[in-house]
Subunit: 434 residues, 2 copies
Amino acid sequence: MSELKRKPLRLGVAGLGTVGVGVVNIVENSGDMLSTRAGQRIVVSAVSARDRGRDRGIDLSAYGWHDNAVDLAGDDSVDLVVELMGGSDGPAYALAKACLAAGKPFVTANKALIATHGKELAALAEASKTALRFEAAVAGGLPVVKALMEGLTANKINELYGILNRTCNYILTRMEREKLAFDDVLSEAQKIGYAEADPTFDIDGIDTAHKTAILAAIAFGIAPDLGNLPTEGIRNIAPVDIDYARELGYRIKLLGVARQTGEGVEVRVHPAMVPLSSPLASVMDATNAVLITGDQVGQTGYEGPGAGQGPTASSVIADVVDVARGICYPPLGVPVNDLKKLPYLGSESHIGTYYIRLRVTDVPGVMAEITQSLAAETVSIESMLQRGHAEGGGVYIVLTTHETTEQSAIAALSHFNALDCVLESPAMLRIETA
Amino acid sequence: MSELKRKPLRLGVAGLGTVGVGVVNIVENSGDMLSTRAGQRIVVSAVSARDRGRDRGIDLSAYGWHDNAVDLAGDDSVDLVVELMGGSDGPAYALAKACLAAGKPFVTANKALIATHGKELAALAEASKTALRFEAAVAGGLPVVKALMEGLTANKINELYGILNRTCNYILTRMEREKLAFDDVLSEAQKIGYAEADPTFDIDGIDTAHKTAILAAIAFGIAPDLGNLPTEGIRNIAPVDIDYARELGYRIKLLGVARQTGEGVEVRVHPAMVPLSSPLASVMDATNAVLITGDQVGQTGYEGPGAGQGPTASSVIADVVDVARGICYPPLGVPVNDLKKLPYLGSESHIGTYYIRLRVTDVPGVMAEITQSLAAETVSIESMLQRGHAEGGGVYIVLTTHETTEQSAIAALSHFNALDCVLESPAMLRIETA
């Protein structure tokens, strides 16, 4: 082996769940490969976790132990801290601040932390000229933070779409394939460990919002901002909408969307219909994907696992090797002082096309009332279909609109809600033509 | 703007074709954006091209001029050389050696150069601790060299498939969509500038071989090696094979394949049938794609333009920004002294499944002769079909095999060639289930 730096790079690992164990395993089993790639031997020096006695299938006896993860920041046997505890505040946040203030490189898989405190932590890292890396926070395994921050750095990014939560994509895939209701798939997914006991974080879009906030920040050179990120999850997706989507040539996906126009930026998370011809439509099961459009490169796409022990640990180790290779630049891609303050465009002003499903009484004159409501808001119809009998009585009328503002589409929904012939609150989905 | 390094990073651009002009344009038009991202202002300082007087739509008057590109290496006004001339030898090679020996960072889009002299140039770069970067050499625009070398660095790479030549993919796409013959599409592609006047480099797979050699080198930690890279192009693909592929559930693509097993590595370029369900099958027109499987991450996929002014310049500038950010590690991902010498597995020993098409006389007993030839080489049939009348007389028999060695499949072809009932040399295509 050729010249290596004399001293190894000694990791302190905070959090020994699935991913932490994965990181320890790679470091222990791929030492020679990593050394030649990193130019420096990488070793685990100390660890911290909640329960010291738990059997994790790895031998911890050679490592230092800290009951309090924050102590890793001050441990002189640790050159770099890997944080895998999760949570936007509490010990993860305290540990990040302590490390970066002390000039100790910090690698994390914690999307909540970066989405919430990214700007403050980046400023700390810059002040001490220390690396702060978070590839594993978005689409674990797939180097999409790196693609955006380094590979596409010559581009003004115009838009970005992500399928970023594997629980949601798994649920939507099974709902479509097996014609099941949301609740039934969710409870099955919980049984086999594909969904958490408390699934709120995933299915209400919060996890996707964290990841989208991070990608949007890097793409546009702004601070991560969860406060300007309208978020809707997939709880209200009905099997009938999945069927109609298919019939109309679409598939329903939970998307993170970030778009930049001359007026400002839109960043949002919601389920949407994507054309079956879109690369996003073929992303099934637990796969993640990101489509990025830059002014020079045009559209590029990235697809991979998105989570799991091997994939997430793979991204964590890639960050560690980057640090060993001496890579250290402002953590958000540009210095915190150069972050832009771009206006956020409210979703009201968003111009798009929409899918609307109404359950109505099956009597003459209903169609006239519906079309009058749309006309009143100058929403024009692209396609319309009425089929058989609806569950619960009446019939379904399904329509897609031509381009209109979201404000107008929502106003039309209010009209519908006021009509006697409309039997339940209408369903509406955005159509995204990525 | 926050603190920048005082001095700008001054580029010398060798070659002012489409991509060179694209690089100059980005540097001139996106200066502020690049400065905040790179931490240093980037400027063009000197250029070199064949014809100083040619109108390229850009003003060169502010830049130094060199008739001989190699002089950029010794030009003190140039901090980094961007080489866009092409060619594995000649001035590009001379310029690379001169720059790296002098410790001047060298960024290139030249796949022939890196595939041919990658190891020697990497050694020069390492000796002078200088950056040598070549993201634009493979799938211009798509950061797949970076993904492999940095993003997936925690992985042992098991296999990699690439659709890497846009001329070939464009021709195959149009042959299928419009049921045209190879020669007809090629001459049309030449008219609209999608294929070169001399298309050999593209359609015979040489361009794909250069790119595959580079990806394989990084993936496996070996030297790029065109000498161990069996290469077949798409000249002999007949419309009838494209039709049968479709009927059997496949699509024909020109693939770069690199695979690592316990015995060694296989690196090869050839047209292959891929299942319609494979992500590779949906890569149409001039798009490039790469699928990479690592032991930790599983399969990840990357898709993008692959060539063109904006995309290729985007990759060149990304490398330049990496250099400005101080990124400098061994150019092939590991030091040249640590490159492995893995045995190359001959294609004879490759185990796979095959598509074979025969044109035979339409008389009794033919099928028996065919099946006996296969049995003699212990090649077993997975599916077989016989259809209508073949162009030129006789009938087509089309079959796919179960897994067999390539040696056996080729031996069966020799049997067929010796049969009186076989009217022309059989067509054979590998089936890849990526």
